[in-house]
């Protein structure tokens, strides 16, 4: 049942991402939240989705140039993390980082699959022309909607597979060979890199200075607060 939900949400996200609407619902921060909601752990979804959003902030479709399939990657990672978290008392940073490492390559696989659908869709174009030549313009126009099936199917198949791999492997690793490793630090390292990736996606002349200024000023504020709290305690 859970995997069915992951499949449906991943499939719909793949459609929303390109074929219909594009209202940010397939962006990692939204999709991971929705998957968390569907699987009964909104907080877990948000925890995973926020850094993934920044990590893949630059994943945009410019003309014919395709980015990685951030929605497929997110569905697999968030789905896997929330399901693995059921066995481990919630989505901890340890669970999140291992799910990421296991399922993130699917984003790249999704990009390859999308290229393939673009070639297959040439057949749809031919079909539309054929319908038109038979005197059925309304039918020719509607051929467009047939293109929604392939992206749905690809993500609906691959996302649950990635989620299942993570959901099966993560508890074994966390309770087994990796039990002594400080994995949580790995998740925070990844989240830091995600901020950097997000900043890099903001290509503006002053973006570099502003990014570092915010980082340094924010960090100074955080350290000050910690110090004062620490002193009082």
């Amino acid at each position: 049942m859970s995997y069915l939900l992951v499949a449906i949400l991943a499939g719909l996200a793949a459609i929303e991402r390109k074929g219909f609407l594009q209202a940010m619902l397939a962006r990692p921060v939204a999709l991971a939240t929705l998957i968390g909601l569907a699987l009964g752990d909104v907080g877990g979804g948000v925890l995973v989705g926020a850094p993934l959003e920044l990590f893949w902030l630059g994943a945009v479709n410019l003309g014919a140039a395709l980015p990685v399939h951030e929605a497929l990657g997110t569905a697999a990672i968030a789905g896997g993390a929330v399901l693995a978290g059921r066995a481990l008392g919630g989505v901890t940073p340890e669970v999140a980082v291992l799910s990421l490492l296991i399922a993130a390559p699917l984003a790249d696989a999704g990009r390859r699959a999308e290229r393939l659908t673009e070639v297959l869709n040439e057949k749809l174009a031919a079909r539309a022309e054929e319908r038109l030549s038979r005197g059925d313009p309304a039918g020719a126009a509607r051929v467009n909607l047939l293109g929604l099936f392939a992206p749905f199917a690809i993500s609906a198949v691959l996302a649950p597979i990635g989620a299942a791999l993570a959901a099966e492997a993560v508890p074994r690793l966390v309770l087994g060979p990796f039990a002594a490793l400080p994995l949580a630090t790995g998740w925070f390292a990844f989240s830091g890199l995600a901020c950097a990736s997000g900043a890099k996606a903001m290509r503006a002349p002053r973006a570099r200075v502003v990014y570092y200024a915010a980082l340094v000023a924010g960090a100074a504020a955080v350290v000050t607060v910690m110090w004062r709290v620490g002193v009082r305690a």
Binding site: V46, L101, E122, A141, P182, L193, C195, R208, Y211, L215
Partner: protein, 253 residues
């Protein structure tokens, strides 16, 4: 010959499916033909003329999915004049081919690489700070802007035809894009600082410090051309390694 308002609304709804069958040869050609077909059906009651009209819109088309709405509206403006015999039948296609590149550039430069990433970064920061309500609010605001502009461009394209270019110029989107990107970079920097706080509370001060260091040095590495996914694996291993090293050093001292 004009297109009824109801039909225009139907065309706009269908324009949301512009990239459903994106293909290498025609790119958004099927999506454009699908969107404009109800308008063509209204303008050309004679089957042969409607067939010809749809055939010309099955030719190559590619634009940004939002700004394409302006071209769709403007193309209907020209098709109305073709249907009335005031313009040659080649005008709608010429209009499309002239505007698709520049409006794609506007859409990519404003929506895809400025407005959406800005709201994405804001949603991420909000999600980490206060949780899911921030995601809902941020997305609601983004889509208010998105749908208002998308529908406005469609309506103005239909009313003004070639005049849409002046309208889009007045919006000064490249100027706003620049500001949004700077603001977005600011949000990313703040998020890194928030991670210092979060990491320190959840997993020890070292985790927070590692997050901050990854944000500072990861940026340099990515600007230097490091590939994103491999960089993620490297930084996770480095972070865990740093924590191991610190624990050992701390334990032996």
């Amino acid at each position: 010959m004009t297109v009824p308002t109801r039909t225009l609304l139907r065309v706009f709804w269908r324009s949301l499916f512009l990239q459903a069958a994106w293909n290498r040869r025609g790119m958004q050609n099927l999506g454009f033909a699908y969107a404009i077909d109800p308008a063509l059906a209204a303008l050309y009651p004679e089957p042969e003329r409607r067939r010809e009209a749809l055939a010309r819109h099955l030719g190559f088309f590619n634009c940004h999915p939002y700004t394409a709405a302006a071209i769709l509206g403007g193309t209907i403006y020209h098709e109305e004049r073709v249907a009335r015999g005031e313009e040659p039948a080649g005008n709608p296609v010429l209009y499309k081919s002239t505007l698709q590149g520049p409006l794609a550039a506007i859409g990519d430069g404003f929506f895809w690489t400025a407005l959406r990433p800005f709201f994405g970064a804001l949603a991420a920061l909000g999600a980490l700070a206060v949780g899911w309500p921030a995601v809902v609010i941020t997305l609601a605001i983004y889509n208010l802007v998105h749908l208002a502009l998308r529908y406005g461009l469609f309506r103005d394209g239909y009313r003004k035809g070639d005049g849409i270019v002046a309208d889009v110029a007045r919006l000064a989107l490249p100027v706003f894009a620049d500001r949004l990107r700077v603001a977005g970079a600011f949000v990313c920097g703040l998020t890194a600082a928030l991670l210092l706080w979060r990491g320190a509370l959840q997993a020890g001060f070292l985790s927070g410090a590692v997050a901050l260091a990854a944000a500072a040095f990861g940026y340099l590495a990515l600007l230097g051309g490091a590939r994103l996914l491999p960089a993620a694996y490297v930084i996770v291993v480095a972070g865990v390694g740093a924590a191991l090293f610190a624990a050992r050093w701390h334990g032996s001292s």
